[in-house]
Amino acid sequence: MRKIFAIAGLAIRSAIRSLVVVVLLALLLIAIIALPLTIKGDGTLTGAVQVLLRYTLGAVNIILSIATLWAGCAAIATEVQEHQVHLLVTKPVTRAQLWLGKWLGLLALNTVLLASAGGVTYGLLHWHLNRQPLSADNRTTLREELLVARRVVNAEQIPVEADAQRIFAEQRRTGVLTKDARPDQVLAAIRQTLLQQAHSLPPNLMLRHVFKVPTATTRPLVLRYKFTSSQTDKNPVACVWLAGAPERPDRFQRPELAAPAGIHTLQVPALLVAADGTLTVDIANVNPEPVTMVFAPADGVQLLVYESSFAANFFRCLLIMLGELAFLGALSVTLGSLFSLPVAALTTAYAVMLMNIGSYLQILTQETFIIGSAAKSNTFDLLIHFLYVGLYWLTKPFQTASPLEPLAVGELVSWSWVAGVWGWQVLVIGGILTAVGTWIFNRRELGLPT
């Protein structure tokens, strides 16, 4: 282990000596200090806090990623290029130890830098909040909606499968389906229609959602909802929200006048949760003009439940960022042990770019034509389609959502997410990369004349 740590120390020193890394670290410092002063929020305190968190930590993440990418690729590639590696391989160290030492050095450097950047950002956030007089309302909003970690709970799905199967069988029996209709597509469309119908609320009717609250809490629960209306204009719709078991005399009731397509929240007392952990929520459409409210089946109505403090959430967010940097370090050290520095850096950058455009790749996999038309797609279209599908599936295991989005809006960054990133990306994928990297590095001829 001592040998690995010694190599790690060398890796840290050579990273610090690298001009590119030093420039990036200077940028990191500027980003942390200057960004909060220059970025425009939406004019509200909550907006300013969200932007500060999102942009400062986002900039830190980008800069550290680029620095890791460069330092990781350079760690072995430069030493091979400049023959310094000859001194190392003649010593009693295995190439696996060399690889691990380089990776650990990067990880240690990233840990220190990320912890410092995170600490400064956290301090700056509180400094910003403390230096301005905040109203009681603002303090409450910050405490209950933003500087907090709330678990997002979706309503239990309304079962539609039996009806979908029945309608499909009926359609097949009556022969209304075309000859080339694909059964899976038809069934999916029927399911979607039924779900949408089940989440539509016509005038003067009521719609029920049931939530399973995962943890007992005394803090108020927050209902978050979004809907579209059958009106073409965006005039607010009058509705009444009722929460708690229907037979309870103290059932929560709150009339709302809500604008379609906006995100709205309302607080519900936690004591309304039943003994079995369920919370029943009814919405009554009482708009004087006949309007249908349409909620998205997946996330039209959500419940936000207090889970932990903001500091803990912030810490978990940093852990995820560190896990991603550790993975990036493993990838760049591996590619640096295979190729020369420019090739390794470009390949890593390309791989990172692919991993970050997963959602666009997914959209492209659904396109059946790129150059031809829907009616007649050509061979080129087919090739491109398979290329996108291949790229999507190849990069899928590496795609993760950014923890900054939930952190900035007061949603939970869970321990299971942290465990997922460290378990899957760092241990499994990183382990595979270590094995592949050291195997190839072992087989690589280092003494070739140049």
Binding site: G47, N235, A259
Partner: protein, 449 residues
């Protein structure tokens, strides 16, 4: 000799730079004269804008696209906190592209604002849209008439119109802001203080000299109301406009003038929480002239003529109910001469009464306010004059119009958006207006009872 070639190249580069610097000024001048660009070259811009527009070259389009995708995604998810920053970056990446400024300002003022239930939140986003165009868009594109139109449109349609349920809040807040700035309905041009002029210029980009000119040509306008600002920005854009842009701005001016005539005077009583925009008959003649000028300049535009016809129709009603009978007859004669149809063949009085009964079903909030207020003023006026029967008749007319209008607008959301102020409140306003115009203490005393 070893470094001779290098020194030669450096010298040559230096000469090229010097010559390029010498040519820069005449080139800019030629560009200005030939109107190759309507705006001034980007000078004294913040370093970030200068950097992005020059150093990034063609790549800035790609970055703008990515930021735009992010902005759309966030808006869809209801995460609006980044939108101002993203709009700022996108517009700075393409500072000369008018559509980019127009889209983002419109998006914030129209699309984002209506997603909120609270009027304060809505107003904040409308304000963001205004400041983006006024403070930034026009700074980088001072010669782009469409941006003046876009800015004027926010005043004319979003704030002055009643399509947004919360328009009355916007009007009130804007009026408060302007009243604080001018210390009254309009600036006292002769006695403006240095700090007032500076604040008008720095914060609101209002030029007091231009405002005075506009007031001379179209006013006196009540600058607490949004129509005056729509006229101001349209007026400023007109000198850069040709063809369709010019027509659009001209249209904004006469439409806003018509709006000013219908509800361009503000009655505020803070202690009573009263805020009622009412007719400003002092600008009626100028509004009429603005229409006539637009018709003369655009003879083929039938839409202007139909707008003019509607304006004259409403004006007849308004003048008649405000007991300006001679003017009402004059306008009616003009209406009959220009647009001869059977409905105008009758006299002015039968026209007014038959129109009233059919109009009441479809009239707008501002027309209804004007008619009710006018009839109430008549009522108080005749009461002060001692003609109680006539006063009673006008009182009756006002109440009939109020009742008929509100009959179909009783639902809470419609009432808030398009309803009228309570009749007692309007009546009190009319009484105070009439009382102010009276000169004898005897007549005033009658109204005090």
């Amino acid at each position: 000799m070893k470094h001779g070639a290098t020194i030669g190249l450096v010298l040559m580069a230096g000469i090229c730079f010097w010559q390029a610097g010498r040519l820069q000024r005449p080139l800019v001048q030629m560009r200005r004269e030939l109107r190759l660009t309507t705006g001034e070259p980007l000078e004294n811009t913040p370093p970030l804008v200068a950097f992005t527009t020059v150093a990034m070259g063609g790549f800035r389009g790609v970055i703008a696209d990515l930021l735009w995708l992010r902005a759309s995604g966030l808006q869809e998810d209801g995460k609006y906190f980044e939108l101002v920053q993203l709009a700022d970056w996108i517009t700075k990446l393409e500072p000369r592209m008018k559509q980019v400024w127009a889209f983002h300002a419109w998006n914030m003022a129209y699309n984002v604002s209506v997603l909120f239930n609270n009027p304060t939140d809505r107003w904040r986003w409308i304000h963001q849209g205004i400041t983006l165009l006024r403070d930034e868009g026009l700074r980088y594109n001072p010669g782009e008439p469409n941006l003046y139109w876009q800015l004027g449109w926010i005043y004319q349609h979003k704030i002055s119109g009643n399509s947004d349920q919360m328009n009355i809040y916007y009007k009130r807040w804007w009026a408060d802001e302007m009243a604080t700035l001018f210390d009254g309905p309009r600036p006292d041009y002769q006695h403006l203080t240095g700090s007032q002029i500076q604040r008008m210029k720095d914060v609101y980009k209002l030029d007091s000299f231009l405002m005075e000119q506009i007031d001379r040509e179209y006013g006196p306008l009540d600058w607490r109301l949004p129509q005056a600002h729509a006229i101001y920005w349209a007026w400023r854009g007109k000198k850069f406009a040709t063809s369709f842009d010019a027509l659009q701005l001209e249209r904004m001016i006469f439409q806003s003038m018509a709006d000013a005539a219908m509800e361009g005077e503000l009655f505020i009583n803070r202690s009573e929480q009263v805020f009622i925009p009412g007719p400003n008959l002092a600008v009626f003649e100028k509004a009429r002239k603005a229409y006539e000028k637009a018709i003369a300049e655009n003879p083929g535009e039938t839409s202007i003529q139909s707008g003019h016809r509607n304006f004259l129709r409403t004006a007849v009603m308004m003048l008649f109910t405000h007991h300006r009978l001679a003017e009402a007859r004059d306008v009616f004669a003009d209406l009959r001469r220009r647009y001869p149809t059977p409905e105008f063949e009758q006299g002015v009085e039968p026209f007014v009464y038959s129109s009233l009964t059919t109009l009441l079903r479809n009239i707008s909030q501002r027309e209804a306010t004007g008619i009710v207020l006018g009839a109430l003023q008549q009522s108080w006026f005749w009461l002060a004059m001692g003609d109680e029967d006539r006063a009673q008749g006008f009182q009756q007319l006002a109440r009939t119009v109020w009742r008929e209008y509100m009959k179909t607008r009783n639902a809470p959301d419609i009432k808030e958006r398009a309803g009228l102020a309570p009749i007692e409140q309007l009546s009190e306003q009319a009484r105070s207006m009439v009382k102010e115009s009276l000169t004898t203490s005897e007549a005033k005393a009658k109204l005090a009872q």
